[in-house]
Symmetry: C2
Amino acid sequence: MRRSPDEVCCPDNGSPGWHDDRVTVSAPGPATSPPGEGVSRQQLLDLLDLDRSSPIPLYFQIAQHLESAIESGALPPGTRLDNEVQLAESLGLSRPTMRQAMQYLVDKGLIVRRRGIGTRVVQPKVRRPLELTSLYDDLKRADQSPSTQVRELSVGPADPDVARALALPDGGEVLTLVRLRSAADRPIAKLTNHLPVGLLDVTAEDLERSGLYQLIRGAGIQLHSATQVIGARTASREEAELLDEDPGAALLTMERVAYDDHGAAVEVGRHVYVASRYSFELTLLTN
Amino acid sequence: MRRSPDEVCCPDNGSPGWHDDRVTVSAPGPATSPPGEGVSRQQLLDLLDLDRSSPIPLYFQIAQHLESAIESGALPPGTRLDNEVQLAESLGLSRPTMRQAMQYLVDKGLIVRRRGIGTRVVQPKVRRPLELTSLYDDLKRADQSPSTQVRELSVGPADPDVARALALPDGGEVLTLVRLRSAADRPIAKLTNHLPVGLLDVTAEDLERSGLYQLIRGAGIQLHSATQVIGARTASREEAELLDEDPGAALLTMERVAYDDHGAAVEVGRHVYVASRYSFELTLLTN
DNA sequence: AAGTGGTCTAGACCACCGG
DNA sequence: CGGTGGTCTAGACCACTTT
């Protein structure tokens, strides 16, 4: 989905008389730029090779370029962006399209806009706006060499609680899977999931190779939302043994119900994490 | 900010030949509606008395009306909305404005739109898109009669960790406040916060009457984002005594750093919650 | 083929903020 | 005062889904 970033940016145009660190993405005016040389024009083309024939929307192309420019440090925090009218003109776009791109970045928390002031790149404290957390992806990103052991993969009648959460008749059949997730050769979580039967067709090998959510999306299921409850309790003797901890050790618990676009419950998860080796990190945007 | 909802809606227009439950917000066509009677027209006016002279944007007025109509059950889950062109025309608006209103509701998770299909009210599983959680507000909403006891309110040099989080010089001065939060006459959390000095001027009475975030916003500070880390551990003897639990009981921990629009750290919180009496609930939209 | 939302354009007026 | 983002308009073409 996401294309590899290969753009270079121009973090300083050296406009005389500005003690501000404004960044201009525009090509130089035709009056001062001799034809055939155009270094800045080339920078512009490198930066933003908009493809109007691409199925990727223009505003999204712009937003992605700016996003990777920000994350790569080419647009450091505090950098002031030109106003939308100038940027739109520079890129040969209408103002609403440019605006849509910038709004996308505002929603992602990457830039801040203030009326009468301007647009600035935000301090890089903000990270992931909390996607549907996949422990597997989290660990892989942290390079913790995660591994998964499938301990159960079965079909059977659901618990009353699970049936209710999935809006199934009492005793309806569900696919149950229990996985033990480890990182750096130590167990880190016991993951228990329930799905309505027939929704997903997976093998233990699939589950050991990729995260559950990746498989769900791969099956063409559009996830829409999820509610999570995060709590804590102490480990029972069995849990402690499984997770290589002492009985009474603190465990993080998460119960999650995920819904698709139609509002139908797709998945119930009941997970326990070793608190000494795992914690949830999340970033909120306070809009 | 939010105005009280007083609108009524028309959940069934009874179009013959439709087994679908489409909802029309539009006034009746002038051809079939005798003048002077206009029940549906009155419904429309009740539903959406757009005020073009109001400082509240039109799209926001629409979105709020629809939002309260959804939450009040006047637009039940699964209800199909008319397409944006018709809705815009019915309300005397341009399509982009109508679209902006609907996009707002999509971002809030209240409706789902699909190209070629239409727009439907989402199943009401989704709730708060996780604002900056205020335990105080949470409890008040749940009618748990919360109370706050201020146990410390002092100014002094910051811990190295806190100073780093707030981007202060080592040993810089911070306002430290420690609160014990109870609900239903039992302690539920110990809240420790650190703020740069001079940012906020509060008394113990203020803190026992309202939540910290309310006070911060009241001081004109624009919160932008926050990062939280949620973990768990077992209670020490002192903590157990303070929180009316047994030593070794499971505690939920949260560390939070909040930032303002300029990216400056505004507040650090280090809180512990009694796991047997509190858990975090949050809703994610998977966009 | 008809209906839907997704995208894009080229303007306009306004509220807010700084100097 | 000039510059900024916030809002709004009245069109247009397209991609997608269903009939």
